[in-house]
């Protein structure tokens, strides 16, 4: 099987020739290549660092793109003020987000109105409205479009070339572009205290605005993925875990818009990778409402992935979850043992992708990363 066929098989809940592996690597690559984190702002450094990882610690099946050619593009996905290594932070720090109010409460109503007026472009309009609140150099109104759209276009054009190079090496892409789901976007953009108040006092407004944005999410994701030639998207749900919200809030307020988005994307042939950071144990039953074979649930080590296999394994492909602390502080033998268990139990019957729990820890031990990669060759063949 090619790496793409392998990925397609597991997402369709079929048994591939072996378990695919796709680690989420960014800052780790810098340390491994002897650079500091700030060096990755320079594209040639990123290429050099990720190549070194691929050749010495890989190979992997799917490339997990996380390199932004322009930091403003990241804002289009995570609507928060950001501090970057080498700019606001020391060069060896990692990118961090500030919990500030970007979205005003009145904008739930603005979103409803925008979605009625321009259903396909409400996402774009909303983010162009927010951009000047995040970046001092981005002007209001048309100036924000003039500042940010060329950067997004340049970023996507460069990713397209990058993806072509990876395909030439026999490596597919995990996804073309990703967005934070609408509910989670609001949580980040409102800030956790404001959003807690919204959920208590105005839950219907939150749910309605999230659902109203579905048309524009589908349109944007479809256009970008057509351009990049990848039929998968990442939908991050950072604020829907039980570390943040109750299973009831998830089922009633977050899930309806998420479900609508996943179903609509599936209808146009796009699979969704749900980036489920945090503990999702109490949300697992509700995830069964998603149509079978339409999505991947990616866990970061906080969710009981073995329990997830039992509860949603017949509905969703499962992806994860070698924990950050194990990769940073454990031994290769411990990593090997954990990966073996993942492959045997979560990989049973297919529908499983091995990966690091969220982003590979920058200070992961290289020998542990190697042990994770090698485990799919040692234990991951089905026949």
């Amino acid at each position: 099987m090619t790496s793409e066929e392998r990925m397609q098989a597991v997402i369709n809940l079929q048994v591939p020739d072996r378990v695919p592996v796709s680690p989420l690597i960014y800052y780790f690559a810098a340390l491994y290549a002897g650079m500091n984190h700030a060096d990755l702002h320079e594209p040639k450094n990123w290429n050099k660092a990720i190549d070194k990882c691929f050749h010495e610690l890989g190979p992997w099946d799917a490339y997990y793109p996380l390199n932004f050619y322009h930091v403003e593009v990241g804002t289009f996905i995570f609507p928060m003020k950001v501090l970057e290594p080498g700019i606001e932070l020391p060069p060896d720090a990692i990118r961090q987000f500030l919990e500030e109010e970007i979205m005003k409460f009145e904008e739930y109503e603005w979103i409803m109105s925008a979605c009625r007026q321009t259903p396909l472009f409400s996402y774009l309009r909303l983010f162009m409205r927010w951009s000047p609140r995040i970046w001092d150099h981005v002007g209001e109104g048309w100036k924000s479009y003039a500042s940010v759209l060329p950067l997004i276009a340049d970023h996507l054009a460069r990713w397209k070339l990058e993806f072509r190079d990876w395909r030439a090496r026999g490596v597919t892409q995990l996804y073309g572009l990703g967005y934070e789901a609408a509910f989670d976007n609001f949580s980040m953009a409102r800030g956790i205290l404001n959003f807690s108040r919204d959920l208590k006092k105005h839950p219907a407004a939150v749910a309605a605005a999230a659902e109203a944005m579905t048309d524009s999410y589908v349109f944007m994701l479809r256009m970008v993925d057509l351009f990049l030639g990848v039929r998968r998207v990442v939908i991050a749900v950072h604020r829907s875990s039980n570390d943040f919200i109750s299973p009831e809030t998830f089922r009633k307020i977050s899930l309806p818009s998420l479900k609508a988005l996943v179903e609509r994307l599936k209808a146009v042939g796009i699979s969704s990778i749900l980036h489920c950071d945090g503990n999702w144990d109490l949300n697992l039953e509700a995830l069964r409402e998603l149509p079978a074979g339409c999505a991947v649930a990616q866990f970061d080590g906080a969710t009981d992935i073995f329990k997830a296999k039992e509860i949603i394994g017949d509905r969703l492909c499962i992806y994860g979850d070698v924990p950050a602390d194990l990769l940073a502080l454990g031994s290769p033998a411990e990593v090997d043992e954990y990966c073996h268990r993942l492959i045997e139990e979560v990989g049973k019957g297919g529908g499983f992708i091995l990966g690091s729990g969220c982003e590979l820890a920058p200070n992961a031990r290289p020998e542990n990363v190697k042990a994770m990669m090698e485990s799919v060759v040692k234990y991951g063949y089905y026949a």
Partner: protein, 209 residues
């Protein structure tokens, strides 16, 4: 239902506007400010219990902590030199190199709600700053938060800095945050770890209460 009981119930039900309205009314009617603080603490104790029982989640915890803060701001000017009894002194902060503060802020507020004097050093706190503040305040507990794996080394350095300052035997050190577990505890050399705010309160009560 008496006014104190009513306030305790309202904050326990995370009713922001009603709690604050009731506190204002009670103050206007000459209620004892310290008894109002006690009522708020009782209500927050219920919130903590419900959080632990997974009946409440982060939004309820955060919002109730904010209500507590707002109510205390109303009450404080009426205290006229009366001081609220404390169970001990805690120095808290997010480890150097890490600016995540949601969890740290909740723990700090919950500790205050539970009667601790809390010195919150903020985020990206150097080991030396932890040691200096712990020495100045004669803290019985230092709480270090971190969400990044890069914070593990900073936590270890903070434990070492407290030892170098001659404070290691005079206080307890707890660590907390998403990736923190037994393995990280062992690496850092702290005394205990907690995964959520209620565990932090329990650890504080165990060591200081």
């Amino acid at each position: 239902m008496g006014v104190n009981e009513k306030i305790a119930v309202l904050i326990a039900e995370v009713e922001e506007d009603q709690t604050l309205e009731e506190v204002r009314r009670a103050l206007d009617e000459g209620a004892d400010p310290l008894s109002l603080v006690e009522a708020l603490r009782e209500g927050m104790s219920v919130v903590g219990d419900k959080y632990e029982a997974r009946e409440y989640f982060l939004p309820e915890l955060i919002l109730s902590a904010e209500i507590f803060r707002e109510a205390i701001a109303l009450i404080e000017p009426r205290l006229k030199g009366e001081s609220m009894a404390t169970k001990g002194t805690v120095v808290i902060g997010t480890a150097q190199g890490d600016i995540h503060d949601i969890g740290k802020n909740i723990v700090a507020t919950m500790l205050r709600c539970n009667g601790y004097e809390v010195h919150d050093l903020g985020v990206d706190v150097s080991p030396q700053a932890f040691a200096e503040k712990a020495g100045q305040t004669q803290a019985g507990l230092v709480a270090i938060s971190g969400l990044l794996t890069l914070a593990f080394d900073a936590m270890k350095d903070t434990v070492d800095a407290l030892a170098e300052a001659g404070l290691r035997d005079k206080l307890k050190i707890i660590i907390g945050g998403g990736p923190v577990n037994e393995k990280v505890l062992e690496y850092c050399g702290a005394d205990a770890f907690g995964k959520d705010p209620t565990e932090a309160i329990r650890l504080a009560d165990k060591h200081l209460g």
